[in-house]
Amino acid sequence: MIIQRNYSPSALPKGTDVAELTSRIIGPLTLLIERSGIDQDNGQGLRVHLDWIQYKTSFRDPVVVRRAVDQQEQPLPLAEISIDLRQAATPSFNEYLTNAVEVLKGNPPSNGHAPFVLDTFKPWRDSIIWPFNRLFWQQLGDWEAYAKRGFEAALPSGGSDANHPEAVKEGVVEFWDLLHDLEKRGNLPHDIYAMEIGVGSGARARLWLDQFQVYDAEKASGYYPRLKFLLGDYSPSTLDTALAAVGPHAPLCSVIPIDATNPFKVLSFLRFKILYVHLTNVYDNLTFDEIARRDNKLYIVEVRPYVSAAAADRIKAEFGFSTAELPGAIKRLLAYGPESVGEHETGMAFWTRIWEVLRLEERLRAIDEGDESHLPKGVSRSPLDDVLSEVPHDIRFHLSRGAAESFVNTAALLHPRGYLQVQDIFVTSIKEYVHGFRGPGKLDGSFVTWVNGAFLHAVGARAGYHVNFAPFTHRKGSKTQILYTKRRD
């Protein structure tokens, strides 16, 4: 049995007695395993991962079992038990431990109540969380009304760092400096293209345009009237809101319904023309996968949604859906919205409840040498190889595929002197994955997961950009960082 500590003691709350906590878990677990009759070979290969999951709610039960399969879904000896130390105080924690060992042996849970499985195993990118995520953003107003609070209130800071006036002013000055330098060299294009992707309410765009207009007037440079500001978002109704928000700047703005992972698709006519692109809190909501390396072999993490037997019982009592009817009801919810499962209030209650109890079982599926289906579109295997070469040992990390695709397909639009700025929660060194769980965690009806900045750094290098990160310093305690690009020579 190999025990892997996936947290940094310094990240735990003050006063946490780590030694006491882990010994309280490892002792009984060792006892259970020794007495379980698990054969020695499998017992030796068993890995026990001790995580500290900082999210209030996630897709994990306190104890989960992960098995490994090959590409043909045949079982492999590798197996893991993953324990969320944060949930160790849960009253039924020992029952979770016992069940985990039973599951490892191939037995049903000791209490006889198997969880109710809703779908098959799929990589994260294809999992059920994405239709939930889509529904949330499509029907955000309904969710907020039902929850009686705006979604930004769910953020750890209670609001978005994107709209900080000083940060926006800094960005405006930086952009003006670029324009000025281009002008001095006689290279400033007549049309000055700038773009924000994921405009949300339009508040940041408005602030940026206000400040740019003022700064341009102060400098008497005449750039503002030449500005072509593109507001990009996948939701037409969001774009309407954002366009209204920019108010007097609207004549300079164009709204572009856009897939954040591929802006080039609709904007190819602006290839090498856009001087500035900004995104805030977009990358953390784009598709991702997780890759695990165990004994120098790569696995992709696959997940399968389930609800516990107890949760299924509660749902039956509350909404009348039997377990057999549950998958169909969820399917209708995700396809047609809450009204498809009952009156609006009932539908909303069902939506919030099912999201609350949704859990994801995990397994590791081997990636064969030469298989490249896990790679983001338009990205070769080299950046992943680069990242892996930095950590020789076992590791599990995000493959931020949506972010990587977005980066590559946005960079293709940039003017030779143009740049991209992304404000988000980045893991800037691959080694950080060894010391902490980085999501996904639930955030209202959506979820949040950290973005693998180290991978983006490698993707950027192959695409001709230095990618650097700087902490957002305008709000104390902010976890967001800003990704900056600079052309490589």
């Binding site: 090498f272 030779p416 052309r487």
Partner: protein
């Protein structure tokens, strides 16, 4: 010398870099692949590049330059007197940290081997591309010469020896690549002087290739070619290779405005997109150029090297280019 048709087609130099060769180059830098094995891979890749160009119907071919890491390091490593920090890069197409701290000496730059390779494996007309003094000066740190101009002129002196050897070896087509002119137009007076020093005393068809950059498949600069004129007319070359496919053809007017003695090696294939132009589109581009340039003063090539394109795309683009040129030639009869 192989006789060439009207509107001869050629390449700028580099051919599609296979992903496996990229990996091998990077592995070589990390000492995971031996020099011997890498050279064998180069040999195979270059033969394939030659064959692809022949099959595509290109009249003047290159060896694909697949053994070159990039346009700077290949020369920086070979020019005697340039010191290269071999630990300074992880990715093959990055640039080494290189510096000149004393007067350059003369010595082989390895280009004769390229010429012999081409003659051994193809009967086609071929050309050798050389990074120009201006490009090298912009990337190799100068800790010795009093000015960039002095450094460039001495580089040209050293490289002239190699170029003379190439011509003695029977090389008929040479190309000088200068992708940084467009970012530093103020350097043009001494940069052209350096080109003239480089080609001094040689009797070959020399093309001066001036693009807007192609690092990572992206332009390094934007603007118009107007800055080149009239200074570039002083260059002692036979052809000027300029990109028109990606940037549009407005700058063709410069050839009307100025009395240009050179052949135009016209870029008609956009190397920064994977979309393959049709032969008809290429023929249209060539025909529009013929409204300005006499047929005997026009050559056809891509905008720049094909190194960043997938092999199938590169091959299809060259095939379309050759077919487009053929369609125009048919109309000339």
């Amino acid at each position: 010398m192989t006789s060439l048709p009207p509107l001869p087609t050629t390449v700028i130099g580099s051919y599609s870099m296979p992903a496996w060769l990229e990996r091998a180059k990077n592995d070589f830098l990390q000492r995971k692949v031996s020099r011997h094995d890498l050279d064998e891979m180069y040999d195979s890749a270059r033969k394939a590049a030659v064959k692809d160009q022949e099959v595509a119907g290109i009249d003047i071919i290159s060896d694909g330059e697949l053994h070159r890491d990039n346009m700077i390091d290949y020369f920086a490593e070979r020019i005697p007197g340039v010191q290269v920090d071999h630990g300074s890069k992880r990715l093959y197409d990055d640039f080494y940290e290189s510096v000149v701290r004393s007067k350059l000496a003369t010595g082989s730059l390895g280009l004769l081997d390229e010429a012999r390779f081409l003659r051994r494996f193809s009967q086609r007309a071929s050309k050798i591309s050389i990074s120009g003094p201006h490009a090298l000066v912009k990337r190799i740190r100068n800790d010795f010469y009093p000015s960039e101009e002095a450094f460039a002129l001495d580089l040209a002196r050293v490289m002239n020896f190699e170029v003379r050897e190439l011509v003695r070896e029977g090389v008929t087509h040479l190309q000088i690549d200068e992708p940084y002119y467009s970012g530093f137009p103020e350097d043009l007076p001494w940069a052209i002087t350096a080109v003239n020093a480089l080609v001094d005393g040689i009797s070959a068809h020399v093309t001066l290739h001036i693009c807007y950059g192609n690092r990572y498949g992206k332009p390094s600069f934007e603007g118009t070619y107007r800055y080149l004129f009239p200074r570039v007319l002083d260059a002692h070359v036979q052809a000027l290779s300029l990109e028109f496919a990606r940037r549009g053809e407005d700058d063709l007017q410069l050839f009307k405005e100025f009395k240009v003695p050179f052949t135009l090696a016209m870029g008609v294939v956009d190397v920064k997109t994977h979309d393959v132009e049709s032969a008809g589109l290429i023929a249209d581009r060539v025909r529009r150029a013929l409204n300005v340039i006499p047929v005997e003063k026009l050559m056809i090539n891509p905008d720049c090297g094909l190194v960043h394109l997938p092999r199938e795309v590169a091959f299809n683009k060259l095939s379309a280019m050759a077919e487009g040129a053929r369609m125009v030639r048919e109309g000339l009869k």
